[in-house]
């Protein structure tokens, strides 16, 4: 991270939802999404992160990018707690289709259904897609 997080003193608190639907490494969206989350954490907004579809693969354990030469950002997910980003949701249906269990994930998450994601989304002001 090259950026210095900026202070935001506006006093407005909004609910941000970051929706991750893509696999890591094949494209940069997962990595650059994480950069938004980290910078955004300095703004004291309410933040939820959702992993659904192939986004679930972003938080699989034991990722090791040394042989493809790209950046291994997957460890950064474990640092989110220090930034007070604690609301991580994973869609149950996406996990099931991919044969993934909670033990396979490298961060604590709340597993919820598609419908619960739909209802959760409705409670947010700003929804960013990655």
């Amino acid at each position: 991270m090259e950026e210095i997080p900026e202070e935001y003193e506006g006093g407005i608190v909004k609910k941000f939802m970051y929706v991750n639907r893509r696999a890591p490494h094949g494209t940069i969206y997962a990595q650059e999404s994480l950069e938004v989350v980290l910078v955004g954490a300095a703004f004291d907004q309410e933040v939820s992160i959702v992993f659904m579809d192939d986004g679930v693969y972003q938080i699989l354990k034991d990722q090791d990018t040394s042989a493809i030469g790209t950046k291994n950002f997957s460890k950064t997910f474990r640092a989110l707690e220090m930034y007070d980003v604690e609301k991580l949701y994973v869609e149950r249906e996406s996990m099931q289709a991919r044969g993934i269990s909670e033990d396979d994930l490298n961060v604590p998450v709340e597993v919820i259904t598609s419908e619960e994601i739909g209802r959760l989304m409705e409670q947010h002001d700003v929804i960013l897609s990655f």
Binding site: V19, R21, D53, I117, M121, E122, I127, S129
Partner: protein, 102 residues
């Protein structure tokens, strides 16, 4: 709270529409734009998916994107309303938030 979901990918190529229909709640809307408009066309093998969700959701398609692809306004399913860019802006304003299901 109501959400405007935009879908810009062909449902034959990508899973965006499927995901959108899975999470869009009663009272929300789906706007088909760019290659997403193929999902609104009548007479394809995917029509059942929209029909099933037609009671819960409102469907819109961006007219300029239909026209660009050689699709007339009559080529979309009955449950889909055609709008232009002005209509797109109005939909964004009328819903509480927008989610681009890329």
């Amino acid at each position: 709270m109501s959400i405007l979901h935009t879908v810009n990918k062909s449902p034959f190529e990508k899973n965006s529409l499927e995901t959108c229909l899975r999470i869009a709640m009663e009272g929300s809307s789906v706007l088909f734009i760019e290659d997403g408009v193929y999902g609104a066309v009548d007479g394809t093998s995917l029509n059942g998916k929209l029909s099933d969700a037609g009671n819960r959701l409102k469907f819109y398609a961006l007219g300029p994107d239909l026209k660009a692809r050689g699709l007339s306004e009559n080529s979309v399913m009955n449950c889909v309303e055609v709008v232009d860019y002005d209509g797109f802006v109005d939909l964004v304003v009328r819903h509480d938030a927008t989610y681009a299901c890329l």
